[in-house]
């Protein structure tokens, strides 16, 4: 408490920085995660920190939050030099952190989660009523409404995020660090989060906002610090830069932020889904009578808040899950009852959303994973044996073509970085020459350059006349790539929009949240109409 009082006594002066880092460095073995970082966050500002994956953002945040100790450098909080050795120190200094992956107890109520670890008690007894009152008043003072009695597991993602923020506020945090807070939110939810953030700033809180969505950063931040390869490149006022400037600073070269989407003409149907109904593991109907058509040379984007049946839908199209009713046609051939390998042979490829767990086997070697889907067929199979020479040749070719950074095709896949693992999956799926490519979250968790690479690869593949079903939670990506956007809500397609300049994203957001839906006849027309 003493530390804390000392810290706040100084905060009246205007020049005082909420947080100041000087020459902070941290290495893990040979990898220098942070090099000589200088960062100053003014009091009462929203300070965005942007950078690609691996630029050192998370290490820096861990240093500030005390979970990692820097090798060298000085930290000042509220104008006082400090050493933060643990997150307890950080909390005592008024620093609060909202992690990207929430740290809530799903089986406790909202109120219990907020006070967990610092419960108000009387003679050692918890009082549910007091706890709820405390949390309620805390929430309303910042204009949040959270159901304090509800169990956390019943809340939506955005509500859970608010609980996380309340947790830090309850611990009297004045400096809040939000790690990629918008990654899981719809446009509307993002907006209301921004309202909360602005409100917090008005109440005298300082916010560090970590993100790689540049439009948002531009919209919310007062100042922006750009990290690249462990160094801070610069800090700029948000007013004076465009998103493209920030992107260039992040990557260190100018990026093609626009990919060229070919305006394709009406073409043949690649895949038709007719009245598909799919059950979840718990035997609920999570996909209800969905009909969709994907054409040659087209990217059909599938938008929706996670958990609305989209993962079961794509699993069903790929053959990992059998439908309850309905039919799937690939080039007019009914494949509803086919196995995954039969579908693969007919030309369906799949980039799974969770690449580390289902796209690759981490202990397997790179060449094995690259060609895993075709090892049993020529030219890689010679009679009953594998043709090591052909396999090696093809693997080297793919590694070169897709720019996979590795010392040898014999290294285990697990030794690659996330971006390179993603390239391995892309290389395998695209090089199988599919007719229909199901791409689920093809750029989740990869940096700007790798995402750009993936986008261009997908668009290149498109030119060969395949159809792509793109499932992504990143609306920007959807708008960038898709020709048409279908919105799924509670297992039904509620809208299909052609992607055109000036498309109203908020309308898409309303569809995603089930507030609005297209007329059934219009939907049917959009669904089957060619471009």
């Amino acid at each position: 408490m003493k530390l804390r009082d000392a810290a706040f006594s100084n905060s009246s002066s205007e020049d005082v920085f909420a947080l100041k880092l000087q020459g902070v460095s941290k290495s893990y073995g040979n990898v220098r995660a942070n090099r000589n970082i200088n960062l100053s966050v003014r009091k009462d500002e929203i300070h965005a920190i942007v950078g690609e994956n691996g630029a050192g953002k998370s290490t820096l945040m861990k240093i500030i939050y005390g979970t990692v100790e820097p090798d060298s450098g000085r930290l000042e909080v509220w104008g006082k030099p400090v050493q933060i050795r643990s997150s307890l120190d950080a909390i005592r200094l008024g620093i609060g952190m909202v992690f990207q992956h929430f740290t809530l107890a799903p089986n406790l109520t909202v109120a219990e989660n907020v006070v967990l670890g610092a419960e108000p008690s009387r003679f050692g007894w918890l009082q549910a009523k007091t706890i709820e009152d405390v949390v309620n008043s805390l929430g309303s003072s910042f204009g949040f409404h959270v159901p304090t009695k509800a169990l956390v597991r019943d809340l939506s993602v955005s509500q859970q995020q608010r609980v996380e923020i309340l947790k830090t506020l309850y611990r009297r945090a004045k400096l809040l660090i939000l790690d990629e807070p918008t990654a899981v939110l719809t446009p509307q939810e993002t907006e209301s989060l921004f309202d909360i953030i602005r409100k917090l700033r008005a109440e005298g809180h300082t916010i560090i906002f970590i993100s790689h969505k540049l439009l948002e950063v531009k919209a919310i931040a007062d100042r922006i610090t750009v990290l690249r390869q462990g160094e801070n490149v610069t800090t700029v006022d948000a007013e004076n830069v465009t998103p493209a400037d920030i992107a260039n600073l992040m990557v260190g070269r100018s990026v093609l932020s626009k990919v060229t989407r070919s305006s394709s003409k009406p073409k043949e149907k690649v895949c038709e889904i007719k009245d598909l109904t799919v059950l979840s593991d718990a035997k609920n109907e999570v996909v209800k009578k969905i009909s969709l058509t994907i054409h040659e040379g087209e990217i059909l984007g599938l938008a929706g808040v996670e958990g609305n049946g989209q993962s079961q839908l794509i699993e069903c199209i790929f053959g990992l899950r059998s439908p309850k009713s309905g039919r799937i046609l690939l080039k007019n051939c009914d494949i509803t009852s086919y196995s995954v390998s039969q579908r693969r042979r007919l030309g369906i490829a799949f980039i799974p959303p969770d690449r580390r767990t289902s796209g690759v086997a981490e202990q397997a070697k790179i060449f094995e994973v690259l060609l895993a889907d075709r090892m049993s067929s020529p030219p890689f199979r010679k009679r009953m044996f594998l043709d090591q020479f052909q396999i090696g040749l093809k693997a080297k070719e793919l590694i070169k073509e897709f720019g996979i950074k590795t010392s040898s095709p014999n290294s285990p896949v697990g030794s690659l970085s996330g971006g390179n693992i993603q390239k391995v999956v892309l290389a395998r799926e695209i090089s199988s020459n599919p007719k229909l490519l199901i791409a689920a979250e093809p750029t989740r968790g990869v940096d700007v350059a790798a995402a750009e690479f993936a986008h261009n690869r997908l668009l290149d593949a498109l030119k060969q006349g395949l159809g792509i079903l793109l499932l992504t939670s990143d609306l920007d990506e959807l708008v960038l790539l898709a020709n048409r956007i279908a919105v799924i809500y509670k297992g039904q397609i509620v809208a299909i929009e052609k992607n055109r300049p000036g498309l109203d994203l908020k309308q898409i957001g309303r569809y995603m949240m089930g507030v609005d839906r297209q007329d059934a006849s219009l939907l049917a027309q959009q669904g089957f109409e060619s471009l």
């Binding site: 593991d281 990992l320 899950r321 196995s339 995954v340 390998s341 579908r343 693969r344 799949f350 799974p352 767990t357 289902s358 796209g359 690759v360 086997a361 981490e362 202990q363 397997a364 070697k365 094995e368 994973v369 895993a372 889907d373 090892m375 049993s376 199979r381 009953m384 044996f385 594998l386 090591q388 020479f389 090696g392 040749l393 080297k396 040898s408 095709p409 014999n410």
Partner: protein, 391 residues
């Protein structure tokens, strides 16, 4: 590089074609060499080096503790310990015992390494071994003797092991039964069937002990060597090592097996029939356990006896773990481990310390190895605790 720059200058000359072919050949040869180097690099890599260090440490620590224990329990600890350490190589017949034991452990280690690479914790080698022995006995005793009868016996034992592996495999793959439980229970069933058949069919009428007749000479494995001798099982084991290695690393079947062992979800995504891989891995593993039973019956006991396996199948698990499920390291581990077994045997016979002392070494090795295997076992438990995802 040199060729490249020169070829650009000679672009239009008539030498161009020659240089192009040379270049092509050089590239393909270079690729081939690179590939060989890559392969060599990945054989016993630095990773398996650390494994070997660990294993050696475990054995040394075990021996130290054995020494301390003999100091306490033995009248003549020096003698006893010497018997343990030098016993297996002190006499030609003991060397023979050592080799014979190593052959069987190799076969069983191979069987286990196949299922473990498929990430199936099948413990059914015991039952498969017993069925293998029984099949070999049936062939040797009931078929009319002819030259090469023992080969038929070995094949029959492999088939019997295969079939006794299909059962738990299919139970696991299509009915979702736990392979640990089902294989252990099937082992008991196999023992009972064996005993029943031994007493009612194989045992000659009026015999004083529960034994079958000695097999006819054609039904016995040929003996190799002179003073130090062993059976043709040695050749079978060497072949088996090569076959298992080639199967796992050079055939599509082995590729599928390893991929589905690494990550079942991944295997489904690339279109493998995971259920088939599961039951087939357990069945193919049974072939090698079964043949090991055939070698025991036709090469060691020369007849069917009660408790023919002597719990050896479970030693196969230790051998496979020591070898990190790598078929090429299995014989190495088997030779080392059988040395300890025979050493303990000799010690029991020549001193006042019982052979159970080897269990101490075993326990310490298992401790060392399971510390390493812990993450895998933990995953397994989680899998059971939270149920499996539908396949």
């Amino acid at each position: 590089m040199l060729l490249c720059s020169r070829s650009r200058d000679l672009n239009r000359s008539k030498d161009w074609v020659v240089i192009q072919t040379v270049e092509k050949n050089v590239t393909s040869i270079r690729l081939k060499i690179q590939q060989i180097i890559d392969n060599v690099k990945t054989l016993p890599s630095n990773d398996s080096f650390s494994v070997i260090v660990k294993v050696v440490l475990a054995v040394l620590l075990g021996l130290l503790i054995v020494y301390l224990v003999t100091l306490v329990v033995s009248e003549n600890p020096q003698e006893a310990f010497k018997a343990f350490i030098t016993g297996p190589i002190s006499q030609p017949n003991r060397i023979s015992d050592w080799i014979t034991d190593a052959i069987n452990l190799t076969m069983l280690g191979l069987a286990i390494s196949i299922v473990f690479q498929a990430n199936q914790f099948s413990l059914g080698a015991e039952g498969q071994l017993i069925f293998g022995a029984m099949a070999a006995g049936a062939v040797a005793l009931f078929l009319p003797p002819f030259t090469g009868l023992f080969i038929v016996g070995l094949i029959a034992s492999g088939v019997a092991g295969f079939l006794w592996g299909v059962l738990p495999g299919v139970l696991k793959a299509y009915l979702g039964s736990d392979e640990i439980v089902s294989t252990l229970m099937l082992n008991f069933i196999a023992v009972q069937i064996y005993d029943f058949l031994l007493q009612n069919f194989f045992m000659p009428p009026g015999a004083g002990a529960i034994l079958s007749d000695v097999f006819p000479a054609q039904g016995l494995l040929p003996v190799l060597g002179g003073k130090v001798r062993t059976s043709a099982g040695l050749i079978v084991a060497v072949l088996a090592v090569i076959i298992v290695w080639a199967m796992l690393y050079r055939t599509p079947y082995g590729f599928n097996l390893r991929m589905s062992g690494f990550n079942e979800k991944f295997a489904q995504h690339i279109g493998l029939n995971v259920k088939q891989v599961i039951w087939l891995s357990m069945a193919v593993s049974g072939i090698f356990a079964g043949i090991s039973g055939g070698i025991l019956a036709m090469g060691v006991h020369t007849r069917l006896v009660q408790r023919i396996s002597g719990g050896m199948a479970f030693e196969g698990i230790i051998v496979s773990m020591l070898a990190q499920n790598n078929p090429l390291l299995v014989p190495v581990a088997a030779v080392a481990y059988s040395y300890l077994r025979i050493g303990a045997d000799v010690m029991e016979r020549t001193s006042d310390v019982s052979r159970e002392i080897v269990i101490v070494v075993q326990a310490i090795m298992i401790l060392f190895l399971t510390v390493q295997a812990l993450p895998r076992i933990r995953n397994l438990r989680l899998k059971y605790a939270f149920g499996r995802k539908k396949m």
